[in-house]
Amino acid sequence: MQARSTGAIAVALGIVAVGLVVGYETTQISLSPAYSKVGPKAFPTMVSAGLVILGLALLWHAWRGAWTAEDDDDAQPTDWRALGWLGFGLVFNVALIGILGFILASTVLFASVARAFGSLKPARDLAIAFVFSAVCYLGFVKVLGINMGAGVLERLF
């Protein structure tokens, strides 16, 4: 029997919590009297019950230590630095894409992902990222006609 994993317990509790939120939100759906037989609440109720029951079953498994994490390479600890770089790139992108525009925000995202994957050449990564983002922008906006919003550099094109 493996030691129980707090992460697995947290995930199981999370599923129960999602189920309860779904249940609560279901009670907030206002019911129109015309659909008394099977209205818009029937399926959400089943989903809520399903999530709570499955979450409790997983909690039981996690508590007994029968379910921890993916089994094969527990030897590899989570690389928080890599996740940090990735998280930085994602947050930067979502926060600044509206102001800086797609090309610059994506350049920073690309370079931070490359850093997260162990690249130690930030100047090269930024250069490649910039060219890649600009080409993508031109390809999608000019050729396919997809709107990617405005930005500092986008006005030049």
Binding site: A34, V38, P40, L90, F102, V113
Partner: protein, 496 residues
């Protein structure tokens, strides 16, 4: 009109220059993303869904079908030369194929995989051609109750039977159904689960969920676990021409793999893993040289590769005839149909006969193109494998941004994308399957619709699901699929 006449009409559609071009772009793109570890057909098709607003349906589905078939070919190249199976269905190919490459027989392994994929793809497409009209005849008898029960069966098999844990599979499925329910209920106009956010009234876009799970979640997982760039790419030293012995050991395996793969893929359960495993063990049993298994036996590549491709063709049977997707890729294709206002189902073959038969004909054409692309041009694809991981995943996340931000230029969509990416990361880390989320999200609302229709017809009497014989049979099969492992365990324990 008979099947052959309709197929001829389909070739007429597929052989127009524009549609040949779509098919070519599809198979090239499909092979490329199949070769690249971390990218799959579901993600690619999701990213290309916005095309449905601009291009006619036939062209788009020919493109998607090309990607779907191409990814199968490309995936085997990666498994053989890199030993990193891109998807679970190619694990077996990696088992023997990578050993062959290590022994300097990579060329023969790639050849038997490509030719086997061609043989199986063609047999599978033939199966699709002739089985689909039969299933349609049968499906026309289905009422809402039968459809609902059929969907329950599909839900249970894709989430509970395939995969490591029935409970985790079902939890993923229920999460997906919930995502599918978000937005305005189409029958009553009630908003559900929008948390007061206006953007959610239209529902959660499947692009966001697919890209979040398959691109963002996967990238987070790989970065956190350092699971990248560890495997060396094996060089192809030998000739791509198979020896006489290779041929004689391969051809029967191709045929057997196809015969195993197609029917299993075509069942409402779907899944390509089971037929590849079955084919592997069958070949091992029948081989004259079983001692070579585990050290690079060519049958162990030929059979499972064929089974994989034939089952991919099989998955299209329930998708096109019943509107029942049994893989994440098929579910996203179904949402493309919905985006055109087309409801896949038994009527599809009649109402959209040009589209469906053009699509099927394009599969024959795409298979021939893929054989050419994957044998003489294999060197090109090997080069793609050499893209360093930092740049590859940087590019994937930029594409993920385009796919999401391009929908509405709304930061809410990006936040949702990253939230789902985070959930995808946890799901990977704690061993939840992700395909049930996509299938539940697409099929859940359809199941709800059929359920409510059935209840309206039966005036709210739930027992209708159990009194109609066909519906009852489907539900019993579903119950059997969930409970049989537990019954088996209880039974073996009781005997000892």
């Amino acid at each position: 009109m008979d099947t052959l006449g309709q197929l001829a009409q389909g070739f007429g559609v597929a052989l127009t220059p524009m549609n040949i071009l779509w098919s070519f772009v599809g198979v090239v793109l499909g092979t490329a993303i199949g070769v690249l570890p971390g990218l799959g057909p579901a993600l690619t098709i999701a990213l290309l869904l916005p095309l449905t607003y601009k291009v006619d349906a036939t062209g788009v589905f020919i493109l998607f079908a090309g990607i779907y078939y191409g990814a199968m070919y490309g995936g085997s190249t990666t498994s053989i030369l890199l030993n990193t199976p891109g998807e679970s269905a190619t694990i077996i190919t990696a088992l023997e194929g990578n050993k062959m490459a290590r022994r300097g027989r990579g060329g023969a392994a790639l050849a038997t995989a490509a030719i086997g994929s061609f043989v199986a793809g063609t047999i599978g497409t033939l199966g699709l051609t002739f089985v689909a009209p039969i299933v349609v005849d049968f499906a026309l008898k289905f009422g809402p109750a039968e459809y609902f029960s059929l969907m329950i069966l599909a839900f249970v098999t894709v989430s509970a039977v395939l995969g490591n844990s029935a409970i985790r599979g079902l939890a993923a499925l229920f999460f997906g159904i919930w995502l599918g329910l978000i937005g305005v209920d189409l029958q009553t106009g009630q908003a559900r689960f929008t948390f007061g956010i206006l953007e959610l009234l239209d529902g959660v876009n499947v692009i966001i969920v697919a890209v979040g799970l398959f691109a963002v979640g996967e990238t987070l997982y790989l970065a956190a676990r350092h699971r990248y760039g560890q495997d060396e790419i094996l060089p192809v030293k030998d000739s791509l021409w198979m020896t006489r012995e290779d041929w004689s050991r391969s051809w029967k395996a191709w045929l057997r793999g196809s015969v195993i793969g197609f029917p299993i893929g075509a069942m409402p359960a779907g899944g390509a893993e089971v037929p590849t495993f079955l084919s592997y063990f069958l070949e091992k049993k029948l081989s004259k040289k079983p001692e070579e298994f585990g050290h690079g036996a060519i049958e162990g590549v030929a059979g499972p590769e064929a089974a994989n491709n034939a089952s991919a063709a099989g998955v299209l049977v329930p998708m096109l005839t019943l509107g029942l997707p049994t893989s994440a890729t098929a579910a996203i294709m179904l949402s493309a149909f919905q985006s055109y206002g087309i409801n896949p189902g038994p009527q599809l073959l009649m109402t959209q006969s040009n589209l469906v038969w053009g699509l099927i004909a394009s599969l024959y054409i795409g298979n021939v193109m893929l054989l050419v692309l994957n044998l003489p041009l294999i060197g090109l694809w090997v080069k793609i494998l050499a893209i360093p991981a930092p740049l590859l995943y940087g590019g994937i996340l930029v594409f993920a941004t385009i796919g999401t931000y391009g929908i509405s230029q709304s930061p809410i969509d990006l936040i949702l994308l990253y939230l789902i990416g985070g959930i995808g990361f946890l799901m990977r880390k704690y061993d939840f399957p992700t395909a049930p989320v996509i299938i539940g999200m697409i099929l859940g609302p359809l199941a709800e619709q059929e359920f409510r229709r059935a209840m309206t017809i039966a005036q709210g009497d739930v027992t209708v699901l159990f009194t109609r014989p066909l519906s009852l049979t489907l539900l019993m099969l579903a119950a059997l699929a969930v409970l049989s492992p537990y019954i088996y365990r209880w039974w073996t324990r009781a005997r000892t």
